[in-house]
């Protein structure tokens, strides 16, 4: 392995100063993905800034009723936190659907958002991958791609984002809190991850040296009926073939707002804006759900071996919408 410098930071400022936006610096959280990628040779950092001890491990309510989860909160702790369980159950569910108990005990909130695709071509230095090595080609497009994207992929890249947590955050209209050397900003989770386009090597909108300090869960989606459903090859410890997070606001048998995000279908959590608009202001019904979800998924461009994902995603979304709508949904 390549030798690297290890720096342990105790404050956000210390961390961002140590990183300094260098191309070969990496922040180290739980290490459940970065260390694997270092072993594979996909990541070869010269400097690791360990941010796992930063004072960002709290889940707290802010004066405006929103909830802030610090970047170093472990996935297990975030899933179990009473504020999350009571107000944002979809987030708890999504976290617990991810990885394994051991991994969740170590993985952090910030690191979960920044994990890389598990595309096998990305992980294998002996194969072409435009994400890992721009310009080398995509081994997956004509190769083994059952698990790959059906929405928003590009000629250069068909990878999916592997996170479950991020799908729930996208549906909750959560924001990512970032600290860079030039200051602090927030971004909606839905705009944090990119589509691959012609730069598949760039996963997110994060600027060089910027550090995720936390995620903000808005008051607006607190307490709304919500659910997460994931389909996978085995009952635990498998990435989503497809998943869906739904936050549904129904009043007087009218859909005030539906928030729907898909996982496992695209390079980022896929917020189903078409479906949401189609449902808004209408009466919840199985037929309305079906039409709305179909409208969203009509944009899908499945590959040779993954057209099943479209049907799977539709089934999951309709099922979750129906269950959340409960008796309000007429069949």
């Amino acid at each position: 392995m390549k030798p690297f410098r290890y720096v342990r930071a105790y404050s956000v400022e210390e961390a961002t100063t140590a990183h300094a936006g260098r191309a070969n610096s990496r922040y180290l959280g739980g290490g459940t993905n970065l260390v694997d990628l270092m072993k594979l040779g996909v990541e070869r950092p010269e400097r690791l800034i360990d941010v796992s001890r930063l004072p960002l491990d709290a889940v707290e309510e802010l004066p405006d009723g929103s909830v802030r989860a610090g970047a170093t909160v472990r996935n297990s702790d975030l899933a179990a936190h009473p504020l999350v369980r009571e107000r944002y159950p979809v987030l708890s569910r999504a976290l617990l659907a991810g990885a394994s108990g051991q991994l969740r005990n170590v993985a952090t909130t910030g690191g979960n958002l920044l994990q890389r695709t598990r595309c096998p071509y990305f992980q294998d230095l002996g194969k072409p991958c435009n994400k890992r090595e721009p310009g080398t080609g995509c081994g997956a497009r004509d190769g083994v791609h059952r698990d790959h994207a059906v929405l928003g992929h590009s000629r250069l890249c068909i990878a999916t984002h592997p996170s479950d947590m991020a799908v729930a955050l996208a549906a909750l209209d959560a924001r990512v809190e970032l600290q860079g050397v030039r200051g602090r900003r927030t971004l909606p989770v839905t705009e944090f991850h990119r589509l691959p386009g012609d730069r598949p090597d760039v996963d997110t909108e994060i600027e060089p040296g910027e550090l995720i300090t936390g995620v903000l869960l808005p008051a607006a989606t607190a307490g709304l009926p919500s659910a997460y459903r994931k389909a996978r090859d085995r009952a635990s410890y498998a990435f989503a073939l497809a998943s869906v997070a739904v936050v549904l606001d129904i009043e007087d048998s009218v859909v005030r707002q539906a928030r729907i995000a898909f996982g496992g279908l695209a390079h980022r959590p896929w917020r189903a804006r078409h479906a949401e608009r189609a449902l808004q202001g209408g009466a919840p019904s199985d037929e309305a759900f079906r039409q709305a979800v179909d409208a969203e998924l009509s944009a899908a461009e499945p590959l040779r071996d993954n057209s099943f994902k479209v049907r799977l995603a539709r089934n999951l979304a309709c099922d979750v919408l129906r269950r959340l709508a409960g008796p309000a949904s007429a069949s």
Partner: protein
């Protein structure tokens, strides 16, 4: 001696259990001789060709790198029987992942960095890695072992054409990987011309013999130790390249060398279960009596050696029919070499046969258990030999009772719980009785203790424990007074832990040595034993491997209940139950562990396991345990193993049959049959993942 006669059969706990739990049991990679160096291999990145050049300059400049072995400078080996062991001997690349260099360094980190810095260029050639039943190179192999070729009885085609009830179906089982928890590892050390290797192996005697041959040494100059082994499932049944590489590197660098294969290399270098394409034709009378059975299997092999997944072999054992043809065809491709994986042949073969039997039962409207009972037999169909014992019918009936089969509504899609369709299925199981000659010694000491020595291997099954049980009964002494020394080639020679044969083979020799010792001790009654003790030896050559007039096989029945989620296409097993007739069960606790372990592996074969050969690159895409899905705990539900006591005098002195593999045989068929019962749909390709279930027309 009232309480000593019952050591065999008792649920004795594994003797090394506390050591393993405490982390004190040392595996092959946990031996670090002074001055030990570390090795990291370099796999080929083309699927076919030759190495054109190797530039080791950068690798040798990495701090700590001692040496880079390539085909140009590696020690020359004698030609092995198994060509996969001829590592770094020539420039040929027979498949992607074949090792083309080995970096040795002071530290693991430096070896790894050095391996990344080795620059290899290739003259690559077009490759073919795609298995097809109509592949022009498909051929029936030489039937050297009496198993791997074609067998016929009567005129199977005509009888099939004339049968009133017919099933003609094709099944596909994907490549499967052994993936033992402990990856393949070896630490090799040369001292004064003697080679000592700690190897993760299922049989250290064979490793010793092969290393002695490769390095042209007398066997006494080689010691191979496999004290604790973290599973193998066949992939450590014979020596694998890692131990040869470690020994070569140690000789070349004059340092002890440790080599642990990275998990991601295992699919390419330690063997796998070949994918199998099956066509099964069953012809039957209206009452279900089989008149013709045709089972044709196509498997792949590598360019390095011919290995045949003998998936039609069990079909020669199961059901009588006047006409039958069982054929293996193998296609040499530019793929990694396949090899043994738990129940090689039987596991994929019985998936196909027992699925087809279910299809026949459904077509005829006969209960699938009844169909099997109507085709039971006392003589082995292919050999016409009488079975030494065959309690298949009893297993089916007892399983039906325990499982509650009589409450089953046979109509497909007859039971649902909300969006989940529920169904149940059954399949038979069988595995041959295999036994090989072994040596053993037994000693009695003045302090009242006994020591049994045999180079058996404990791959996690409890071999130490069960051999002590066999010894205690033969000596008629308490179990606690017997120590078992196993796991070193300096002990009496013994065959491998494989083919469900270990306990029978070693136990036979242990039993014989202990029986001799007991009679010698009986002749010395009352006399004080000398300080060095009194001993006896045994060698079962000529007896254990003698031909039998009987066909000897274990049988069993598997029952599965599955839930199929019509929303997600996810299939989850809810209950799994096995009943086995496998001779006398020697340790009820460790036997149960073996049965449910193999059933779990069968569950994985049915629902989650399988890899994909990448046609463009020529390797298995799913290379680690995140991508190759062995069942997680959440996949394994209520799982039960039961057995029927068999009293079979034609086996061995213990009356036992092997139990390590039968649990994986037929399990996938029971689960697939349950899926059909739940949904009314027949899926004929494993594993039964959501994509297949959803597109199979739920």
């Amino acid at each position: 001696m009232p309480d000593t006669a019952s050591a065999v059969g008792a649920p004795a706990g594994r003797r090394e259990g506390p050591q393993k739990v405490a982390g004190a049991a040392r595996y092959a990679a946990e031996h670090t001789p002074e001055g030990c160096a570390y090795a990291w291999p370099v796999p080929a990145t083309v699927a076919r060709g030759t190495v054109a050049s190797v530039d080791t300059t950068a690798a040798l400049e990495v701090s700590g790198v001692i040496e880079v072995l390539t085909h140009l400078n590696a020690p020359r080996l004698e030609e092995p029987d198994d060509a996969t062991l001829a590592v770094l001997q020539d420039a040929r690349v027979p498949h992607r992942g074949w090792y083309v260099a080995l970096v040795v360094a002071d530290t693991l980190e430096a070896a790894r960095e050095g391996a990344a810095a080795v620059r290899v260029t290739y003259d690559s050639e077009p490759h073919d890695v795609t298995l097809k039943a109509d592949h022009p190179d498909a051929h029936v192999p030489e039937d050297e072992d009496g198993t791997s070729g074609e067998h016929t009885r009567g005129d199977a085609e005509d009888a099939f054409a004339a049968a009133p009830a017919r099933v003609d179906v094709s099944y596909r089982v994907p490549p499967l990987h052994n993936h033992p928890m402990e990856p393949h590892a070896a630490t090799a050390h040369w001292q004064d011309g003697r080679l000592t290797a700690h190897d993760s192996s299922q049989g250290a005697t064979t490793v010793r013999d092969v290393l002695a041959g490769l390095f042209a040494l007398p066997e006494e100059q080689v010691t191979v130790v496999s004290e604790h082994v973290g599973g193998g499932f066949g992939s450590k049944g014979t020596p694998r390249p890692h131990v040869v590489l470690a020994a070569m590197a140690a000789r070349m660098t004059e340092r002890p060398v440790k080599l642990v294969l990275p998990r991601r290399h295992l699919p390419a270098v330690v063997g796998h279960r070949s994918p199998t394409l099956h066509r099964v034709r069953l012809g039957a009378k209206e009452d279900g009596t089989l008149t013709s059975v045709i089972h044709e299997v196509t498997a792949h092999t590598s360019r390095v050696k011919e290995f045949v997944e003998t998936a039609a072999a069990a079909t020669r054992v199961m059901y009588p029919s006047p006409h039958a043809r069982t054929t293996h065809r193998v296609v040499p491709l530019d793929v990694p070499s396949p090899s043994w994986m738990r129940a090689p042949g039987e596991a994929p073969g019985m998936y196909a046969l027992e699925s087809a039997m279910d299809e026949l039962a459904v077509n005829l409207g006969i209960d699938p258990i009844e169909l099997r009972l109507r085709n039971d037999t006392r003589t082995e169909p292919d050999s016409s030999k009488p079975f030494s014992s065959r309690h298949l019918a009893e297993c089916l009936r007892e399983g039906a009772r325990l499982f509650g089969w009589s409450e089953r509504d046979p109509r497909p899609r007859s039971r649902s719980e909300g969006p989940v369709l529920v169904g149940s299925g059954v399949a038979s199981a069988t595995y041959p009785v295999v036994v090989a000659p072994s040596r053993a010694s037994a000693h009695a000491y003045p302090d009242g203790s006994f020591v049994v020595r045999v180079n058996a291997t404990d791959i996690g099954t409890g071999a130490r424990t069960v051999l002590a049980q066999v010894a205690a009964d033969a000596l008629r002494v308490p179990l606690e007074s017997v120590r078992t020394d196993i796991g070193s080639s300096d002990l009496p020679d013994a065959p491998l832990a494989g083919g469900s044969s270990g306990t029978a083979s070693w136990g036979w020799a242990v039993h014989e040595a202990c029986t001799r010792l007991a009679s010698r001790l009986a002749g010395q009654q009352g006399q004080q034993l000398p300080p060095e003790g009194v001993g006896a030896t045994a060698d079962t050559e000529g007896t254990a491997d003698a031909d039998s007039d009987y066909a000897r096989h274990a049988f069993g029945a598997h029952f599965a209940e599955v839930g199929v989620d019509t929303v997600s296409g996810e299939v989850r097993v809810r209950r799994l139950l096995g009943v086995y007739a496998a001779g006398r069960i020697l340790n009820s606790r460790t036997a149960r562990s073996q049965f449910i372990g193999a059933m779990t592996m069968g569950l994985g074969m049915a629902l989650t396991e399988g890899s994909t050969m990448d046609a463009a690159f020529g390797d298995f895409t799913e290379a680690d345990l995140a991508a190759y899905h062995v069942p997680a705990h959440a996949d394994v539900p209520a799982i039960e193993a039961h057995w029927i006591d068999e009293d079979d005098p034609h086996l061995n002195p213990m009356g036992s049959k092997g139990i390590g593999e039968i649990g994986i045989v037929g399990t996938a068929a029971a689960i697939g049959n349950a899926l059909h019962h739940a949904t009314g749909r027949r899926l004929r390709e494993l594993p039964l993942t959501p994509d297949r279930v959803l597109t199979g027309g739920l």
